[in-house]
């Protein structure tokens, strides 16, 4: 089904009508030749400043509540960075806390049938946090990793032969589909590592013109 859905989505790709292209290019050419160039940074600056102030105020007010609520946050969720921060404090007293949480996250992602590629990313993150002396945790991790590898293989075989997989599913209509809870995701720190190691564009750090101007009013 997942593969079928992707194919249907890919089919929504559409092409620009040549007449519209011509009309657009005429407008663009007129704009290029026009002497006035608007600097988009000026357009956006006030709203960014306001947003920054609002976020700072909200952060100060909500930190205690958020720290409590973040306990069950998963990678990619809004509260996850807060969970990581509180974790670092906890790790002063409980050295296993980070490894335990990473393994638990893999287990939850597996239960939620998250993207296999993402689960494997989280497996690798969990592996980095494991120490040799945490035997029980190592055992849990091994089980989770095995489940993750099976998921990846299943996904790969579905992609390779979706019709066959679909047929086999049709024969087993009672197969569970998971309970529809939310998601998946890697940690912000891993994100940054990956982006810094070359996959990231750095466009967000490249200055005033890296964001296009917002048009219209934002009320």
């Amino acid at each position: 089904m997942r593969d079928h859905l992707k194919k249907r989505l890919t089919g929504l790709h559409t092409d620009m009508n040549p007449e519209i292209s011509e009309r657009h290019m005429a407008e663009i050419t007129r704009e290029i030749k026009s002497p006035s160039a608007v600097t988009p940074a000026r357009h956006r600056a006030p709203s960014i400043r306001r947003m920054g102030l609002a976020i700072a105020a909200a952060t100060i007010l909500l930190v205690p509540v958020a720290a409590f609520a973040a306990d069950d946050a998963m990678p990619g969720e809004f509260l996850y960075p807060i969970k990581r921060t509180t974790e670092r404090v906890h790790s002063l007293f409980d050295s296993d806390v980070q490894a335990r949480h990473r393994v638990e996250e893999v287990e939850v992602l597996l239960d939620r049938e998250a993207d296999p590629e993402f689960i494997m990313e989280r497996v690798r993150v969990a592996e980095q946090h494991l120490g040799d002396d945490e035997a029980a945790l190592v055992k849990r991790f091994a089980v989770a990793r095995e489940r993750a590898e099976i998921r990846v293989q299943t996904e790969a075989s579905e992609t390779a032969d979706p019709e066959r997989t679909q047929d086999s599913r049709d024969e087993e209509p009672s197969q569970g589909s998971g309970e529809g809870s939310s998601t998946t995701e890697p940690s912000a720190e891993q994100e940054q590592e990956q982006q810094q190691s070359g996959t990231g564009t750095g466009s967000s750090s490249s200055g005033q013109s890296d964001d296009p101007p917002r048009t219209g009013n934002n009320s």
Binding site: M1, R2, L5, L9, T10, G11, L12, H13, T14, D15, M16, N17, E19, I20, S21, H24, M25, E27, I28, T29, E31, I32, A37, V38, T39, P75, G76, F78, R112, A114, D115, F118, G178, G180, S182, T183, T184, E185, P186, A188, Q190, E191, Q195, T199, G200, T201, G202, S203, S204, S206, G207, Q208, S209, D210, D211, P212, P213, R214, T215, G216
Partner: protein
């Protein structure tokens, strides 16, 4: 889909407001940008306007554009996304008003392609819709989408998984309306789309 002919040299020429460079970039990006905007708005006329708007903004901001070809591509998609969000907000504020732009002649067939899927897409929160369209319709990688949306790769994975699950449910509800597991979906729902948190 993405085109490697969008080079850093071309971006340099864009900064100099070179007309040929603009035409080339338009040829390379316009269809993908249009697919993205149609997926967001389900209205080809408004989507074409969003694409035109982003190129006009590029023409105005060209001398101050920074970064390489990939940055420019992300910039264009962010610009179209902002235009789409503005259009969605406008519709939320004035739901009774028809869209100002009319579909162009010859474009109606595209709008009718897979209407159930397009309806299901419109039921998604705006952020999830952006991510699904960029990932599967346009063909961007998770890292590129994270850059365009302004989130982490984890956030993209999370939203994408939720969206796929919701789409699957919505389509099942349409295809098997009597299924007890299916969630009722009203394709003509006027419910304003929800903008997800960061």
């Amino acid at each position: 889909m993405r085109d490697d002919r969008l080079t850093d040299e071309l971006v340099d020429q864009i900064r100099e407001r070179d007309e040929v460079a603009f035409s080339t970039v338009y040829q390379l990006l316009a269809s993908d940008l249009l697919s993205f905007a149609v997926g967001m708005l389900r209205d080809r006329g408004a989507a074409e306007d969003a694409v035109q708007q982003s190129f006009l903004e590029l023409a105005r901001a060209a001398p101050t554009i920074r970064g390489d070809a990939r940055s420019l591509r992300s910039w264009m998609y962010r610009s179209v996304r902002f235009s789409c969000l503005d259009e969605i907000r406008r519709r939320d504020r004035h739901p009774e008003q028809p869209v100002e732009t009319l579909p162009e002649e010859g474009s109606l067939d595209d709008d009718l392609l897979d209407p159930e899927l397009r309806d299901a897409l419109m039921d998604l929160p705006v952020r999830q819709r952006s991510i699904v369209v960029l990932r599967y319709v346009v063909g961007f990688s998770v890292s590129e989408i994270a850059d365009i949306i302004g989130t982490t790769r984890a956030g993209v994975y999370a939203s994408s998984t939720r969206a796929e699950r919701q789409l699957k449910k919505s389509l099942e509800a349409v295809e098997n309306p009597r299924s007890p597991a299916s969630v009722p979906v009203n394709p003509t729902s006027k419910k304003p789309p929800r903008e997800e948190g960061p």
